[in-house]
Symmetry: C2
DNA sequence: CAGTGTGAAGTTGTTCACAGCA
DNA sequence: TGCTGTGAACAACTTCACACTG
């Protein structure tokens, strides 16, 4: 390995592009399984219901270039996307709130091939503490402190009920977590350097109901 | 009821605005509980980490107007938002795929006060069929046909593994469902008149990992 | 004068148009 | 001719600037 950094300058990528990347990877992995060699942007666009130019622009962020008339090499794209998304590094995470949603996330098969590894779950419910969910141990929230300082975990997944969310976020911040994936419908207050990604199920529901209303009105 | 429609013309609302609406409602319901009478847009903006003008513009879509120097009447806004989001009508839904994620959605307390009522779940796993999840009966997928034709359900929630997603979507379409809330990481092919709302957990994960990468690069 | 309300400016993301290539 | 790749036009959303109000 050369002493000069091999990391290219990480240029900012539009968030919508980042959000589409997993879909590309998903599709391309499937194509790789079917041993398809090349794929064109218009073909991808059709399958994912996107604009062809959009796909070209998005894929350009991976650094891979395609051949006119032929398209992109599937295997090359898969590797580039995995690298781009960080799916070949392993990101370890703690999950707090081992209820139904938390359990669902732990169970989620896909995370294993997505660079996310939930290494421990935490709860305050004594019936859950001491058990395992899909091989992931559930500790009492008190233990969070000790473990987080020993291992160094960068991602905290917050799946508690709303009232507990802020205090759990404080805990996570206190123990040096870099990013919080927040599923509670509460805006978290955290120091500036901590990344918060909100995933609010209600926003999606709102969009559906709104589109239904719109459709009915026409 | 008058023959002349009382529905106002449903003007299209920017999707980002729609997505923020549940957060406003959430906050305002909390304020209502605390018996706060008035709230200003800047105050809301601060609590939700938004731009004050944004809040003003968003709230204007509810049809409610505020008083200069004072702000908006909380109770009025809550009612208007509930109406806007359709939370006072009840939308009945079928859920297909009673795994961990499906169970989590069924359990989700919040839906009850969000106008969404999951009336039945379906699966093909014999261990699940016949059971109940939080009072919601789980039927065999075969039964879907009969029930969907009898009741008329507008929303289908799709929480099956990816390979089953398209065939379940076909089923849902066949029985007249208007909107599909899709949690499978698969682009569904449906007739034009059917609304599909994708909720892909990986998109959110991708954003987090990307921000972490970005943070590290700085 | 602190807040609403709105038209204008700015920013971001998408779509178009077309040059280059095999 | 069908595809990549990119700069330019366009559309959508956000932020700014400011007139208005109690």
């Amino acid at each position: 390995m050369n002493a000069i950094s091999t990391d290219r300058i990480v240029q900012p990528v539009p968030e919508p592009t980042v959000r589409r990347m997993p879909s590309y990877l998903n599709l391309l992995r499937e194509m790789l399984r079917r041993e398809e060699q090349f794929v064109s942007a218009p073909a991808i666009a059709k399958l994912l219901h996107l604009d062809p130019t959009q796909v070209v622009k998005d894929l350009s962020y991976t650094g891979i270039s395609g051949k006119p008339r032929v398209g992109y090499m599937v295997s090359e794209l898969v590797l580039a996307l995995e690298d781009f998304l960080g799916y070949n590094r392993t990101h370890e995470a703690f999950l707090v709130g081992a209820g139904y949603l938390g359990s669902a996330l732990i169970q989620y098969q896909g995370f294993r091939e997505s660079g996310l590894k939930i290494v421990a779950a935490f709860d305050i419910d004594k019936r859950k503490v001491g058990s395992e969910i899909a091989g992931v141990p559930v500790f009492h929230l008190e233990k969070f402190r000790d473990l987080a300082s020993r291992l160094h975990i960068s991602i905290g997944i917050l799946t508690t009920p709303a009232p507990a969310a802020q205090s759990v976020a404080d805990l996570m911040v206190g123990w040096g977590i870099k990013a919080i994936w927040n599923f509670a419908p509460v805006p978290l207050i955290v120091p500036e350097h901590v990344i918060v990604q909100d995933t609010h199920i209600y926003a999606n529901l709102a969009v559906i109901l709104n589109k239904l209303k719109q459709a009915k009105a026409v």
